[in-house]
Point group: D2
């Protein structure tokens, strides 16, 4: 009996299309892996069996390279389509070896995890590249003073490098989260069958290893029914998107202020306003992060208040949402990376801003505490008066000297002491403690950051090689 | 200068593709509408101008039917692509009439609203059809007693019809919300240009009417910068999805219990469990409602904490999310509709359940209040004892008689009084007040419900005719 | 039997506390309303009955003014607590009149809607006040030219008033949404009992009117089981929060740029940086809008994938979330209002910015089209050259004259024509079409906006009077 | 100058109240820790300094035990209130030692992380307890056959223990996530001052160790400006809530079916329906998980699209949301735990269901493959016929014998082979592979699960001891 047109048009067809585009190699590989375990079963001991299974494996391995046929009306999904292709070549009895101890439940869940691994690795690589770009840019700007805004007001002098290393530090934690998510999902559901496993003694360790998993999911019910790995994948993406939304927010402000300048191929003019130079690459990065954040809701709602053994919600029906969130996130990262590589801070503008800043006020207060033994609140009040005086006189705070301090009731202090206290470059240089913005301190941070980027890149590379190694072995077998 | 490959690949190309698929007719129509206002400008008074504009209008109107050309490397978007096509036919000077007082800002926002109107009308029609199906099914089951569950326990007898009318009532409010959203967004941004309007005296009422809008958006800044209409569209969809998630939850339980049965073309077997008859149409409806709920987040995040005049976030970049939520919602509704039309309640099972129910206990308590003047708490306690007694004896509560009541310390009551008090059919029949489940009461509700469905269908039809009327007039002009 | 400590501590106690704080008057009023319908039942015809019911009504009406007693271990909730208080005064038989045809289901749902009405009215009044403040500020700044940013770049001249009216226009739509939500939820569930209504012929119209509802919820199942009104309430709040997040984003930028200045009692210094003047009122407004947006999720998830007759999820358990979202939203609005009333645009800064702007470039292009019959793209290109020339010479664009235009290959144009084309004040003045920023155009918009504020204020006032009228009548009866 | 009433009432007062309730000990401890680093600064070398700092430390340490004073009008927050209390006792100069190199930024961020540690440890302990309860219940039900539902239909036999171990496996991964989140946030911001660190050579390692952190946050900008740890905390809670929402969904269905029975102190009756026994503990657990899911949105939105150095959004203003999500999650876990400990599976009902099941059909197909060398599809089709035959005859499938199989065209098979193939107990017993439901296989899983619970409990205990050790050392110093 044919499916209802709504069921076909709304469910089977889009699922088939999605599987054709994104899941086919994983289906083929997973079936090959399963077949290896079948080949070792007692029921497969005879010569005929061996021959049939070998032929099946050979035919199957080839399907990797051929697209799925057009969906025919009586075939619900990619799995059955593959089966039919094989049956047409080898006959149904041979192909039936595949179905021993296999359910669409464990097969699908395996395939979805294999797909998720790829998405995570791709996102992980992008993070590595972006972190590298942040550190490279930071290395260029270890001495570039940046007046950091807090509360939308000039806050304190720091450096561009100090800021960028901080951004990288957020992403370093995201990379850890991503690797944690990878480790937790990289276990193989195969052998779980519908949920209770099979009465055939399938070697689940073998299958898992053949597909590059760290091992089987232990409990077979858990193997097919749990969806927490998907929630984790989208949460990691949310974390990245949230962190980067804040970085982009600053970059856009700085672009507006002329502190940061994008290359010409990343800005766009206006159809009506000839003078416009719109930082569109950054704007569109922002929108992608917003959508990556929102897209998580599709995955979370899909696993909410559903029976534990219900698989459609987080199985076939949510793979598109995972894919979509990935596209948004990776689009945003790519645009941001382009904006970093095809853009730069304007040193002269930043220097001019620093020269006119009053954000070094705190330091003068600290100096008065250290060198004149004032209590901090007293020093704080005194400096506030000095700030007011300089503003009233239309002079930049770094131009203040000993006389000015005295004029607001302060102690006698050498001009040079006042000058260096109020100089943003000196301000930064003095903050040389662990984690501070002083150039040498930042160089140490950069070194530590480079090491963690390398460590994470190596982890990702190890993961990738494990997958390609397994694939090669499986093909060769 | 060519765009950066990331900008091209991640932004321009997917946007162009989306515009080709979903926005082209709206672009053409909006440009035609704008041209009508341009034609009435003082600068367009000469004969040459008239001739050029007429030629431009004619060429433009045709583009409706031809697909957009392949995206060329120096054309950022659909608007420029259309312009170039026209320039190749008519020369740039003629085409430049189009750009008078026009910005991509007001053009895009107009086009997005036109697209949203279509999505709302499509969703509105689906709601109408679903509500009709609910009422038709209800009309079949005015007498079918349903033991409603509350707190996952048998609660009280009502009827299938009473339940279904309640579901329709939720959707009736959703239809109101949808029509409210439509009215609020159905105002035309054209003439707002970049945001400050144009110095050309464009007749914005004329343009609005030509495109089937109820009028122009008043303030031109509001016209291009506001995104609240999108938040409203996705919120209405969330309301529908949330309401239907609850209905589907019940239908799935009832399918499990054999109270509801789906047609064969809406269920699916198992690859491994031959006895399975999985209500997949309903399951996949549920997943679509979950995703429609989650997809709203993409739209909401996109308008969060952005400057008022930033348009990319909720402009080009969020149209795919609106489209996607629509696909999820409409897929869910379609599958649910199929499940209603290709499925039915099993009267005999429901009757058997009703015959064995103890949910009429409340009614006996009420009868004791009415006819024996017991205080309600006393009656309530007495009936609780009767329930316990019948359970202990393994008898269904509706089989209780006067003796049983007396045996637990109750007053003397005629057998017939006890029997009818405990009979679920009588229970329902007595609940004949406004809104109650008694057959006649429900028939009145059905009548009111049919009237509101008709009213809403007429509103939608009126909206649709206004659009097609405007389109026809515009083409003819 | 006492409740399990977890159930008591996690459910019953916090619910009781919440009811004590927020729901008590609604419980009392709803019970009074129900009692009026009971008094008209056939079972209440005798003199004794009348006397008892009158006494009960009198005792009940008083409870409005006394706090709920301490929760005692055997009383699950506020309803039973009230009942017990009454029983101690009047004896159980008298109090039992209350329970005729009443369930906690319909009582609770009535009370929650009554509470939601108050929250909506409070939010509605705040919106009215805020809209009034926006229009008042706009009226002060009809001539204050604002260079609107688009894409984080100076975009076009408009006025502060034009901008503020646009913001009000968003809120005007939100007010409509709020009133729509109010109308949809302002129907009375009482008489629905557990869900199937009662066999007592309760006059539901009477009860509804007594409590200020527009009428009963028709279908009794719908009356107690539907939660879409809650989804609508939180969606309206989301819309307001989203709209205002964008306005606050601009205000914060403008505060940073010195275009907007907050009063001293709305800014905060730094414990360490004496020169800081942090716009904290606006910052904390932003955070409240973020939380109002997020809080909606609590309400939406609570109604997702639950059976239709499950009431706890969106009943007692979600009222705190509704309350909390309201507190966030109203806190944000109040802080924003304070920032509007205790802050102002700095006219001289804005004027200086306008005098140096190159955003009038478009207008010069339009003038060349109108007066020199150039095609728009040609004019656009020419003006782009002029902009470049002036930038290279370090002159502001509005200082350009006919010679400058000629120097980049343009036609001869009178100095005055060039000057007025490039003058931002003239730019604005020419945009005098419907909805544009020209002072008179904005004055018309202001007039229309004031009318809609008055209309909505009158609607809210009508709603409020209907409630207080019903309350007064009920007390008097 | 006094604060604006809106700022006071909407921001300062609720924040002060929250700090009084939840943050006071952390403030005191963090200040003590900071003071230790101050004591080692060059500026603190003299005897007077030592004496003052010692006095300050002593006075400070005491404040742990005294509640904060009433908020006075000129004190913005808890930090200033503490300072004033100290100044009243010791004089301002002594207290000013505290302010050296300290900002509210690093102090607040430290305090919030200290609070988050407590919430995570509390949630972690609850998870441990719940996992223990799941495994204890599982140990009781290793032989209790459960017919698992898939697609809302009877799916396959497994055991209660197998199911419960799967649920524990999800929570084991959540515990890992929680510990990962803890490790990432357990680094100390102190010494970062406003964001650029201090020019005083504060020993940040010392401070971090004194407060039980694993070390300082490296980069000082990152230390105060990053909010990703909050996103991770709420995401972990979402994962737990999502997983448990699915478990509760099943428990509620099983309660409805009589498969699971709650103790009397966890169910509630109806005010109107005497026979009801509502599983309210589970219902209210579900609602708490829904709200924990939704509450995450408040935290995520708060960090979205804000400048990197803006701290209010995810600082003071979001702590209430973190607290609230925690209360919801922990309330849900507690209610679920009570429902596990005060409830049990009904063995006889489950046994009766198993005896009548047709879900063993797959196994018979597998037997035919293994023992009669049928191809699986053929066997599958044959068994489907047998199922139909037995249904038609009104016999349970496990009652089928060799004759029945033959009657539908099957091969001759011994009665005993058919019987054991169709027996659900045998079905389970045969699934003895790794992770399967056979009793011994589950006992192995239980053993592995117990080990991971112990491992995680030890990790949590180690974390807790590190904190209390640091606290003790700090007090003693």
């Amino acid at each position: 009996m044919p499916w209802h047109p709504s069921y076909r048009g709304r469910v089977l067809e889009p699922d088939y299309l999605f599987a054709s585009r994104h899941l086919l190699p994983h289906f083929v590989q997973a079936l090959c892996g399963h077949l290896q375990a079948v080949a070792r079963l007692p029921v497969a001991e005879g010569d005929d069996a061996r021959r049939e299974i070998a032929a099946l494996h050979a035919a199957l391995a080839e399907l990797d390279r051929t697209p799925l046929p057009q969906q025919s009306p009586d075939v619900p999904d990619a799995y059955f389509a593959l089966q039919r292709v094989l049956e047409e070549r080898l006959g149904a009895p041979t192909v039936s070896w595949l179905r021993i101890g296999l359910s669409r439940n464990d097969l699908d869940m395996t395939v979805y995890r294999m797909r998720a691994r790829e998405l995570l690795l791709a996102a992980g690589d992008q993070l590595t590249t972006l972190r590298g770009a942040l550190l490279a840019k930071a290395a260029d700007h270890v001495d570039t003073v940046l007046i950091a805004q807090t509360h939308h007001q000039p806050g304190q002098p720091t450096t561009v490098a100090h800021y960028l290393v901080a951004v990288e530090a957020m992403l370093a934690r995201d990379a850890e989260r991503l690797l944690g998510a990878y480790a937790r999902l990289n276990r193989c559901p195969l052998g779980a069958a519908a949920l209770a496993g099979s009465s055939h003694p399938l070697d689940r360790d073998l299958t898992a290893a053949a597909l590059g998993f760290d091992g089987p999911v232990d409990n077979t019910y858990d193997a097919v029914a749990s969806s927490d790995w998907e929630a984790e994948v989208v949460s990691v993406a949310q974390s990245v998107a949230l962190n980067l939304s804040r970085f982009v927010c600053d970059l856009l402000s700085w672009t507006a202020a002329g502190w940061y300048r994008l290359a010409d191929d990343l800005v766009q003019g206006s159809s009506i306003m000839p003078q416009k130079r719109n930082p569109v690459a950054l704007e569109h990065a922002r929108t992608r992060f917003s959508r990556a954040l929102g897209a998580a809701g599709m995955v979370l709602y899909s696993s909410h208040n559903i029976p534990y053994a219900d698989l459609n919600d987080f199985g076939p029906d949510v793979q598109g949402a995972l894919q979509m969130q990935h596209v948004q996130l990776s689009g945003g990262i790519e645009l941001l990376l382009a904006s970093l590589e095809g853009g730069d801070f304007d040193r002269s503008r930043l220097a001019a801003v620093a020269a006119a800043t009053d954000t070094t006020a705190t330091e003068l207060a600290d100096v008065l505490v250290r060198e004149r033994a004032l209590a901090f609140p007293e020093a704080h009040a005194l400096v506030a008066k000095l700030v007011a005086r300089m503003q009233a006189e239309g002079r930049a705070l770094p131009e203040a000297r000993g006389d000015d301090l005295a004029a607001v009731g302060g102690p006698e202090v050498d001009d040079e002491v006042v000058r260096t206290a109020l100089d943003p470059v000196a301000f930064v240089a003095r903050r040389s403690g662990f984690g501070g913005p002083a150039p040498d301190a930042v160089r140490h941070q950069l070194e530590r950051a480079r090491q963690r980027v390398e460590r994470d890149a190596a982890s990702l590379e190890g993961r990738r090689q494990a997958l390609s190694g397994a694939r090669a072995t499986l093909r060769a077998s």
